[in-house]
Symmetry: C2
Subunit: 297 residues, 2 copies
């Protein structure tokens, strides 16, 4: 593969190392230990895995981890009451409610209730609007991770044509805002886009955030393009044994890596940045709540 | 000119007529008269003209107009105190502080202080974020006016390629969000975009919001494209006499109208929609503050 591999392990270790230094400094200079409260409702196995990995990352960087596990039958009122209690708790720097929540709870109501200053997922409309308006915001973790990887490969993105496939509030839209701020010419594409292949082939930066395994074919990639694959899809892997599965991205990695200039793998790419950037957001949130300038992380 | 003229007079009259009906119904059914508070700081002649035109539009549709004129030397504290007083006043449905404000006042501080529910300019980050997140928002007036004109020309915009030139919080970014919601493939271009002409020529919808007279040349326009010219630029018009000026848009209208499928003129285009949509926002704000469903305007 002629493409440079954009290694999530390397980039996420760098972010976590910077966060660990920042946490240490905040403790030493201001006596503040940042704390992340993670709320898990129900027993979804994937969610449990994510929550556990967040706990491990906290331990790694010196952030205090607080876990709240609520039963599957928890009412919306009860969950919102817990969120408000965490909003009011001066010991809590960041709040993350693990999505999806059970059907009796409105995800948007949860998002709207989290104090924007503690909204380390960056999903509150105020944070989306602050990002769009060019103001300090809590930026969603996955898009920021993708952004850091792009900046790592090529510091000056100005004037590059970027195509973002997928327009979710969690990934596509914030990625577009971050790239626009870097002076890219940004196109937002989605399921209704005509001739997605032609759009992709014109892009110097290609961000795939659709959630469809191997959706982006190698001949969609412009030679030399920077390709960021945000998709994490589980597909059958009979070659590993009956009933076995494996993770793949939205990009058909092996052939695409013959054409791209740099590309993220799945697994081992953007996914690792999400948790690292969650640690980063928690540290930033702790600074802002204490009236301190943002740390250099 | 083979292009259909997208007539701002026609569209703005339609909007104002619908608003007038809505105001009448709100008065008759709920005893509520919507009121718009306009705050003007200083003596800028253009601002005075705008404020006067807003007052006339209010009278036309039955909205109560409240004007606050403050001296050029007004402090930020004093202006913010007035904004807070208007926030708390149950008689006031919408608040518009005429920009620019004098240099001693932070425009962003003013924007952040206005109650998002009364933010009829749609500039508060919470409204920008609610728009970006696909939630009910106060949408800035000029972008919404541009959007209504496009929808008037062609109801189904799905799959069309749209190019928005200019990325201001007031126009470019919200236009892009509105077109994305309509399932357009949306590209955001700006001063750092390479080969803007090629980008423009590929666009089924071209929105120019740069503020540079006749910046968009006729040969940038794709044959049959819908062209929305948001620019309002004053240029010398020696043909009208010494020292005379005239208004032109960002698009070189006369030759472009030979190529476009439909095009807005300047003056007489989007500009007229801004005030009409301000009336619309004020009516919507009055409904939301009263806990009523949005009116069909």
């Amino acid at each position: 593969m002629p493409a440079t591999l954009i290694d999530g392990k390397h980039y996420s270790a760098e972010v976590k190392a910077r966060v660990a230094v920042g946490v240490e400094a905040l403790k030493a200079q201001h006596g503040i230990t940042p704390a992340l409260a993670v709320v898990l409702v129900g027993e979804d196995p994937a969610s449990k895995v994510y929550v556990a990995s967040k706990g491990r990352a906290c331990a790694e960087v010196g952030i205090r981890s607080i876990e709240h596990r609520l039963p599957e039958t928890t009412s919306e009122d009860k969950l919102l009451a817990l969120v408000r209690q965490l909003n009011d708790d001066p010991e809590v720097s960041g709040i993350l409610v693990q999505f999806p929540v059970p059907a009796q709870i409105s995800q948007q109501a949860v998002i709207n209730t989290i104090d924007p200053l503690k909204d380390v997922d960056g999903l509150h409309p105020l944070n989306a609007g602050r990002l769009a308006s060019g103001l300090d915001a809590m930026v969603p973790c996955t898009p920021y991770g993708a952004y850091l990887m792009l900046k790592g490969v090529r510091d000056d993105l100005s004037g590059l044509k970027a195509l973002v496939i997928g327009r979710s509030n969690l990934v596509g839209k914030p990625v577009a805002q971050l790239l626009l701020k870097e002076n890219c010419t940004v196109t937002m594409a989605h399921s209704r886009t005509k001739d997605l292949r032609a759009e992709a082939r014109a892009a110097d930066i290609l961000v795939a955030a659709i959630g469809r395994p191997h959706f982006v074919q190698a001949d969609w990639v412009k030679p030399g393009a920077l390709v960021i694959d945000v998709g994490i899809n589980r597909i059958p892997a009979p070659e590993k044994g009956e009933g076995k599965t494996r993770l793949v991205g939205d990009v058909d990695f092996t052939p695409a890596s013959e054409i791209a200039g740099a590309i993220t793998p799945v697994p081992g790419g953007v996914g690792l940045m999400t948790v690292a950037c969650l640690m980063r957001n928690t540290l930033i949130a702790a600074h802002r709540q204490a009236g301190l300038a943002d740390p250099a992380v």
